[in-house]
């Protein structure tokens, strides 16, 4: 138990995570993504309410609430899949491009700590965008048709999606020498991942549980062999 506590504390005291979050908070991209997300959700809810929700009987409201909720979750999922490769795809490639990767690799940090710090920073960034959308999801919940469990599970699934996309994007980034190439490769990997996952015999979509860990291990190996 104490070993797990030490390990999990180590994850969140990772210097890469602290630096990445500081840099992300100063970048305009985060504000743009959150603003775009809230605008998209507001427009979606307005359209759904006007086209489906207006004039429905009180007992049919739960159907409208469920439709609005799952539509919002779908949009947030789409935003995650579209935005995470753009930021995570340049994480290692950007360090390489700015000639800062050698500085990290000659520090006391292990390649594993560098990769995990980058992945965690990306996931924490997505968690903030999910939290920003919580008031909108709360409106859908208030309309009805959605259980608290459904809300919690959807938040967990969205976070896991972010974890999967971040880890494969960072794997792509370890193979690239420039940020633009890293981003292109990250989108390719993000598109290919569900196709490959669905083709894996026996486990199929369950492979989503394993993919991030495999991607992190492969990124670590790649970083050790290619500077």
């Amino acid at each position: 138990m104490s070993a797990f506590l030490t390990w999990s504390t180590g994850l969140f005291t990772n210097p890469i995570l602290a630096r990445e979050l500081r840099l992300r908070s100063r970048a305009r991209a985060f504000t743009v993504v959150v603003t775009a997300e809230l605008l998209a959700l507001a427009i979606l809810l307005t359209i759904l309410w006007v086209t489906v929700g207006s004039g429905v009987q009180r007992d049919e409201l739960s159907t409208v609430g469920a439709l609005m909720f799952w539509s919002c979750v779908g949009v947030i999922n789409l935003i995650i899949v579209l935005s995470v490769p753009a930021t995570s795809g340049q994480s290692i490639a950007g360090e390489r491009e700015r000639d800062t990767l050698a500085l990290l690799l000659t520090s006391a940090l292990t390649t594993g700590q560098i990769i995990i710090g980058k992945v965690l920073a990306s996931v924490v960034g997505v968690v903030f965008t999910i939290l920003a959308a919580m008031p909108v999801l709360a409106i859908c919940y208030a309309i009805g048709g959605v259980s608290l469990w459904a809300v919690m599970i959807s938040v967990v699934l969205l976070t896991w999606t972010a974890f999967v996309v971040s880890s494969v994007s960072i794997l792509a980034s370890t193979h690239a020498s420039t940020s633009s190439r890293g981003i292109t490769m990250a989108y390719t990997y993000a598109v290919l991942t569900p196709i490959v996952a669905s083709c894996i015999p026996l486990i199929g979509w369950l492979s989503y549980l394993v993919i991030p860990f495999v991607a992190i291990a492969m990124s670590k190996t790649q970083l050790e062999t290619r500077i």
Binding site: A18, D99, A102, S107, A108, T110
Partner: protein, 333 residues
């Protein structure tokens, strides 16, 4: 008398690892030598068919300011990258402060600070945040960060820029910040790859003074540069590398003295001139005694002929064998 050695150009063909051969240290561990900071034996590094390092041997004494000189593509950066644990050699043996960087890279990283030829500090962080990040990355105790950073910024004369964004600093300031970063974990060895490139004359003078100050503090400093005059003036030892091999190494004060001894120029009052090589100071005295007392010649000049670093560098390039390829008769495409 002289510890300068003019090495024979690759007397034997070094072991060349086949393509795809796992990288490892093939040489045996050397007997311990506490006076040496870095010891390199038969080091090779190949990129495809090209041998960037082709059997390099080098000793870098502790406490020295050691200059590495060589033309572009000589293998300087490759050698420094191997010492800095960034590259694995194809074969050979390397030891940094008694530690093998191939088998114990993390131990070596604690002992050395590395400043690459490109600055790599363009981030939206303040100077203070930048140094704090590296203090954290080097696992320095948090309680020491403030005093360490304050001391380093005083040392590199950036104390008034502590809250400035790194991006806003001039090139010379960024170079000094990069040096402060390399010192954040108080390493014994500093590896500086072309630290003066792109700096204006004033920044170069400041950097030179800073390096002398660090040497006085007991650090071993390895510095690669193209500016020969600066290295000659600044470094206590130098090594010239050409085509991945060592051409010349030794103390700067002994430069120009051949392996066989010191070249002496003799001029007589009637204008006749001659040059001869003597092996020791005693031999010099004996020669002078012989000329003046025994032969009673009118000697008006009797002085050692010293060759500058620039002349030695040009000689080394002129005498260097061609680049080595892993596969004979197969130059890179």
């Amino acid at each position: 008398m002289s510890d300068t050695t003019q090495t024979a150009m690759l007397p034997t063909t070094p072991f060349i690892a086949p393509q795809g051969f796992p990288t490892m240290n093939l040489g045996p561990a050397l007997p311990p030598d506490p006076t040496m900071a870095v010891r390199i034996r038969s080091l090779t590094k190949r990129y495809g068919n090209v041998m960037a390092l082709a059997g390099l041997d080098l000793d870098i004494p502790k406490g020295s300011l050691f200059g590495i000189i060589g033309p572009n593509g000589a293998g300087k950066t490759t050698m420094l990258s191997v010492i800095a644990t960034l590259l694995l050699p194809s074969s050979g043996y390397v030891e940094v402060m008694g530690v093998n960087p191939v088998s114990h890279p993390r131990d070596v990283r604690k002992l050395m600070g590395y400043m690459p030829d490109v600055m790599g500090v363009n981030e939206r962080l303040t100077v203070d945040e930048y140094l704090r990040f590296f203090a954290h990355a080097y696992r320095r105790p948090k309680s020491t960060w403030d005093t360490t950073i304050e001391g380093l910024l005083e040392l590199v004369n950036l104390a008034d820029k502590r809250e400035a964004l790194v991006d806003s600093l001039s090139r010379g300031m960024k170079q000094r910040l990069s040096l402060a970063r390399a010192l954040v974990h108080e390493p014994e060895l500093l590896i500086l790859d072309e630290p003066a490139s792109g700096l204006d004359p004033q920044a170069r003078v400041e950097l030179r003074m800073l390096l002398h100050e660090l040497q006085r503090m007991g650090k071993t400093i390895i510095i690669s540069s193209h500016i020969l005059a600066e290295l000659e003036e600044m470094c206590s030892h130098v090594a010239i590398i050409t085509n991945g091999r060592l051409a010349v190494t030794g103390a700067t004060s002994d430069l120009g003295k051949s392996a066989n001894g010191t070249r002496i120029k003799i001029r007589l009052a009637d204008g006749r001139e001659s040059e001869t090589t003597v092996t020791s100071l005693e031999a010099q005295r004996a020669l002078l005694h012989d000329l003046i007392v025994v032969q009673q010649l009118p000697v008006v000049e009797f002085r050692p002929v010293t060759e500058g670093l620039e002349e030695m560098f040009m000689d080394a390039i002129a005498n260097a064998p061609g680049p080595m390829y892993a596969t004979p008769f197969a130059p890179p495409s």
